[in-house]
Amino acid sequence: MTTPGRPAEHPFLEIKDLGVAFPTEDGLVRAVEGVSLSIERGRTLAIVGESGSGKSVTAQAIMGLIDRKIATVTGEIWLDGQELIGLPADDLQALRGAQVAMIFQDPMSSLHPFYRVGDQITEAINAHRSIRAKAARAMALEMLRRVGIPAPERRIDDYPHQLSGGMRQRVMIAMALINAPKMLIADEPTTALDVTVQAQILELITSLQDEFGITVIMITHDLGIVADVADDVAVMYGGRIVEVAPTGVLYAQPEMPYTLGLLSSIPRMDRELSVRLEPIPGNPPSPIHLPLGCVFQPRCMYSDRVAGGACLSVRPDLLATAAGHLVRCHLPAEERRQISQGVLNVLAGGS
């Protein structure tokens, strides 16, 4: 997918060395550490990872939803030339919903069960501008129509529990886009939905993105859906970004063994049934007791190929391996590509 977008000196969103840590009785939970990212205006970035990898925390940090009473946030987040982390709470609040909007995994629990969906949407309008109730309602109605809700004039007075799952997520999208934000963060937007509805919702997000020119961050654990929507993909593991690449590159030439593992666990229609899906053995690391070296080392089956046991003792850096392709791995680039091609061949059904 190509997107228009002026070449900018600064990316639309730039995250520099983001760290989020929660002090607990058991120790400091480093949920996110050293995350740096940038997204150009109008593009879609997918952040992929298992639960606990830090992808949702990263999203909440962008939204300013991390409770500063219980967590410390370090680093910089630049949104269209404005730094967010140091921003006062009131300014952040004004930003939320107006500049950056967010939709969530479970539209049932994310909508307030006691309020009519129309009221929840108009409440979002009223949070950012003064407008007559009638006008707000008309806006909400229009937006409901835009997100594909049939007979919105009737649905607008429904309660969330009276809608289907897909409808609810459309309402969430309508609510997120009602103030014409510049950016939408979608946190696992399809995970709780039926497979048939998933595609519709993704399609809706894509088409609205085109229409409004929004920048999108799509957070998911499912590499399978990324291919259809994202321009770029960032893979997170253990609170870090371990690989970033344009979507096509990542699928064709993944270099980080973890990305490879994720790719091998995607069920694909074109694969032969004889090929066994290969989940990555082991569990994600505890955010309190991270491994000393590479955080993926305990589950990596190639770490013994690195001389001097650097994987056990040295944290690898996120380094460019090609233009727009960054990898965090001690393995030499050549060896990474060899391993990657071998695995992809097996997946493709070759011998």
Binding site: M63, L65, I70, A89, Q93, A94, L95, R96, G97, A98, A101, M102, F104, D106, S109, S110, L111, H112, P113, F114, E123, A124, A127, H128, Y159, H161, M172, M175, A176
Partner: protein, 330 residues
């Protein structure tokens, strides 16, 4: 909704029939003879029978129950041989031969005390319990939370008769800050009314405040973690709106059920508190009626307090449906 209410009311009437019938049956099953008990000293067999006739216990139990029911709808006359028989107009709950008064009059006299006791304590514990609970929840994990929870644990573990007696001993007897409780209507003497009610209110409120503090805190904490509260924040709503409109509205809804039923039970009479503080309420009246084997009074109080509780149950259910649109009444 209307059909639902009608069905519930019909069910209520049926339940009240069963309850009053059960009181009649239980009363006859009790050992001892109310005719003998209320006959006086050294009672001969003839006077016992005369007394039994006077009380109406010489009739078959079914007839007695029928008369009770017909009294409810058309009224009754008691002590027909008196120069001035006791005319009890519908709805007649009966006549207490122990107290020489109509049951409805006795209940009507006791009800305001219990009402004021319940309402005052209720307001006290709802305000303190909920505000302290919210305060604790918003300061979750910090010292205000721990302090509030510690206090609630202490309040929770003190029995009401203990608090009552300790308060009377210190506040009234030892320090003489308040006179001995002597109930008056708030309309007759508001100052004495407050002087009398403040301690009973505190006694009833302490226990319930502790409970509502915990309930509120846990509910609010739970709700603050709900996805829809996160959504509200993501919309850019002010924190005040997020907490009050989104978190509290949902978090405090279960309290409606608890509070409604607690208030209803209290309106049926707070036996221990009324006894300690010498309050002429329904609880105290109920205890006396049982001790005096006064069937008409027992039946009347049962009927009235059960009605209050059943109606409260219905009101709570209706209120819940109004608050939470997911609840459907059918």
């Amino acid at each position: 909704m209307a059909a639902y209410v009608v069905r519930r009311l019909i069910l209520m009437v049926a339940l009240l029939f069963v309850l009053t019938a059960a009181v009649f049956v239980l009363f006859t099953l009790l050992p001892g003879d109310p005719a003998r008990l209320t006959c006086g000293k050294a009672c001969s067999a003839q006077t016992i029978e005369a007394n039994r006739h006077r009380l109406g216990y010489d009739q078959p139990i079914l007839t007695q129950y029928e008369e009770f029911l017909s009294g409810l709808f058309v009224g009754r006359t008691f002590s027909a041989d008196s120069p001035e028989p006791i005319v009890c107009n519908a709805p007649c709950l009966g006549y207490s031969f122990t107290r020489h008064e109509q049951v409805l009059t006795l209940i009507a006299k006791a009800a305001p005390t219990t009402f004021w006791l319940a309402i005052g304590a209720f307001i006290m514990w709802i305000i303190t319990g909920i505000s302290l609970g919210i305060f604790a929840a918003l300061n979750h994990g910090h010292w205000p939370d721990r302090l509030v929870m510690g206090i609630s644990l202490v309040g929770y573990s003190l029995p009401s008769f203990f608090i009552g007696l300790v308060l009377i001993f210190f506040v009234v007897i030892k320090w003489s800050w308040l006179p001995f409780p002597s109930y008056v209507s708030p309309f007759d003497n508001p100052f004495q009314f407050l002087q009398t009610m403040i301690l009973p209110w505190i006694v009833l409120a302490v226990l319930n405040t502790a409970f509502y503090m915990r309930l509120t805190r846990n509910q609010v904490l739970e709700t603050l973690n709900e996805d829809y509260v996160r959504t509200a924040r993501a919309k850019g709503l002010p924190e005040r709106t997020v907490v009050v409109k989104h978190a509290l509205r949902a978090g405090l809804t279960p309290l409606v059920t608890a509070a409604g039923m607690d208030l209803a039970y209290l309106l049926g009479g707070a036996i221990i508190t009324e006894s300690i503080f010498n309050l002429p309420g329904l609880g105290a009246l109920a205890v006396s009626s049982v001790l005096e084997s006064d069937l008409p009074l027992i039946t009347g109080i049962t009927l009235v307090t059960s009605t209050v509780i059943i109606v409260a149950n219905l009101v709570v259910d209706l209120l819940y449906a109004v608050i939470d649109p997911r609840v459907r009444l059918a």
